[in-house]
């Protein structure tokens, strides 16, 4: 893939418009790497001038902060800010709502103020501006449900952009029993992704997947690599619904644009 890092750009005297913050999941997790590549495809299709930080990027610190380790969080944040500021970065896009929330809301106090957007917002804009054109009708009339990521929705009030993107695919958007402000969490946030859950009568991701199944959609659209993992695991545990696909919205758009 022809992806440049800021370091490489600097050597060549190029100043990209926007930083693509890949995030840990997008960099290392096999499933999330596919999302990263879809988004890159969209950048190329829309002719966006972007670059990544590559090995200069480090964990945003969100899992540490949510687990209560403010020290580790601030160490991560401060060193990331140093890198970001050294390249005079103004605009950041990311496919991870946790990175999005942390960099957007928690970095400014620590000396890092940027214009941060979530990839669903950027894709929505690109479709609006005609830079991404839906060319095939693969999803025409197909039922797609959307799972709101907590850190995009409730935490940052963005419910509309991902829904507009799904509608632009001419798909039929089916809402789950709980959605938008009331959407149920997938169970991964607050560092839960990295630990076993406490004793209860059900796993959170299983319960959320049931709501998705009830919506009668064969595709669950996600907008967060962690939700994606949780829902994928959830679907796997439902014998009769293994045909349901969990797709990031960037993947859906990538399929119907060229």
């Amino acid at each position: 893939m022809n992806v440049k890092t800021y370091k490489e750009c600097k050597k060549q005297g190029i100043v990209p418009d926007i930083l693509f913050w890949v995030g840990c999941a997008g960099s290392y997790d096999d499933r999330a790497k596919k999302i990263t590549k879809s988004l890159i495809n969209l950048f190329h299709k829309a002719g966006i001038s972007y670059a990544v930080l590559g090995t200069e990027e480090s964990c945003s610190g969100d899992p540490a902060k949510r687990a209560g380790n403010e020290f580790l969080f601030q160490m991560q944040a401060l060193s990331n800010i140093e890198v970001l500021n050294s390249y005079s970065i103004k605009k950041i896009v990311t496919a991870c709502p946790h990175c999005f929330n942390t960099i957007k809301n928690e970095y400014p106090d620590l000396g890092g103020s940027y214009d941060v957007i979530h990839h669903s917002q950027l894709i929505d804009q690109l479709i609006n501006d005609g830079k991404l054109k839906v060319k095939n009708d693969q999803f025409n009339g197909k039922k797609i449900t959307f799972h709101d990521p907590c850190y995009l929705g409730r935490a940052n009030g963005e419910y509309l952009a991902p829904r507009k993107v799904i509608r632009a695919l001419k798909a039929e958007l089916k809402e789950m029993k709980s959605c938008k402000e009331k959407a149920m969490c997938c169970g991964a946030g607050g560092a839960q992704m990295f630990k076993d859950s406490e004793k209860g009568n059900k796993e959170i991701n299983i319960k959320r997947t049931e709501e998705a199944i009830e919506s009668n959609s064969k595709i669950i659209a996600a907008a967060c690599p962690f939700c994606n993992t949780m829902l994928t695991d959830g679907v796997k545990s439902h014998e009769n619904h293994k045909d349901i696909e969990i797709k990031d919205i960037s993947e859906l758009v990538d399929k119907v644009t060229d």
Binding site: K33, T55, N69, R154, M184, E198, G200, I204
Partner: protein, 437 residues
Amino acid sequence: MQFLPNLLFALFFFSSIIFFLKNCKKIYRNINLARPIDRFDNKKERFFKMLMLAFGQSKMLDKPVVGLLHLVVYVAFVLINIELLEIILDGFTGKHRILAPYLGSFYNFLIAFFEILALLVIISVVIFWIRRNIIKIRRFVSNDLKGWPKSDADYILYIELMLMILFLNMNASDLILQNAPYSEMYKSYGYFPISQFFVPLYNGLSLETIFIVERVSWWMHIMGILFFLNYLYYSKHLHILLAFPNTYFSNLDNPGKSTNLKSVYNEIKLMIDPSYKIPETELENDIKFGASDIFDLNWFQLLNAYTCTECGRCSSECPATQTGKLLSPRKIMMKTRDRIEDVSKNIDQNKEFVSDGRTLLNDYITKEEIWACTTCNACVESCPIGIDPLSIILDMRRYMVMEESTASNEINAMMNNIENNGAPWPFNKLDRLNWRN
């Protein structure tokens, strides 16, 4: 002798006001046991939020039917209390319906209006009771509400019902005495669209008996209200007062933003640059990271605990509660209030707080609960009066991780990975761009 009722009234009235003020002072004292937080900025925006959430009850209307019933009880209760003004004046002066001659036909309208409101309150309260006790809506019968909180909720409904019935009863007997006519005291004032239907109930009673009924209803009504005022401190019903300051001082920031601890920032800066000067205002003697007890929380969090109505909207949206975990955000708020109360009694007894070997974390709220939270913000979003249970949970995690180092192995492994590899998993830093190949 003839002044005895007035004196008695003054005695009851002032002693209950004094008792009430004493408890208000106590709340203020207790809230100030906590750490400071600046919530005095953006006055306009805060005022507007209070108007919307507390006066307008905008979030209550998320559930339209209950929201509307709640609004009826609230508005009616506030408006009917205008009548209280007259009752208090009557009590002091020994007059009866002292305002009637001054207000003329408007007085008739007011009394009729209050009676209709009283009926609406009765209907709503009965529906509320049925929801709690017959339909048994889940959030009202779950485990975290067993015992006092459950009875408290019912008592409030009984008190409200009784006050309204006494009010109507007082008017009904008054009406009979007016029509009799019984004495100079009961002149023909007021219009009684609801209580007139109570009149047949008195058939066969002598006017003397009805006079006694009227007086007893009058006294029980005002005493009931004074009792109610003082019951608030011990009840979830404190929210009828505290919802106003609580919404005013609530978080205006983005709900996804968790505060960055200044103390940590200063320490890191000092590590990097030993000549770094900590700003004067941020100098602390002994820094404790996070919270293990109410003293480590901030005053807004304690105000939250006093304000919580125990409605359970938060817990019924909480993914952990919904999947049978021990965590319930409502319980976090209730336990915090329990702890404040225990500390308060301790201070009352000993003049200052003497350690009782207990802390909010562990003795009231368990670690298991704290670790079950996904930080999803559903509790914060669903609270109709701007309470933030999540911030308490995060402060306790901070204490456990930064002061006690009692996180689980899995969490520690995740943090080690971030520290060493810049990712929560054990991958090599230098492989971060491998996906490009």
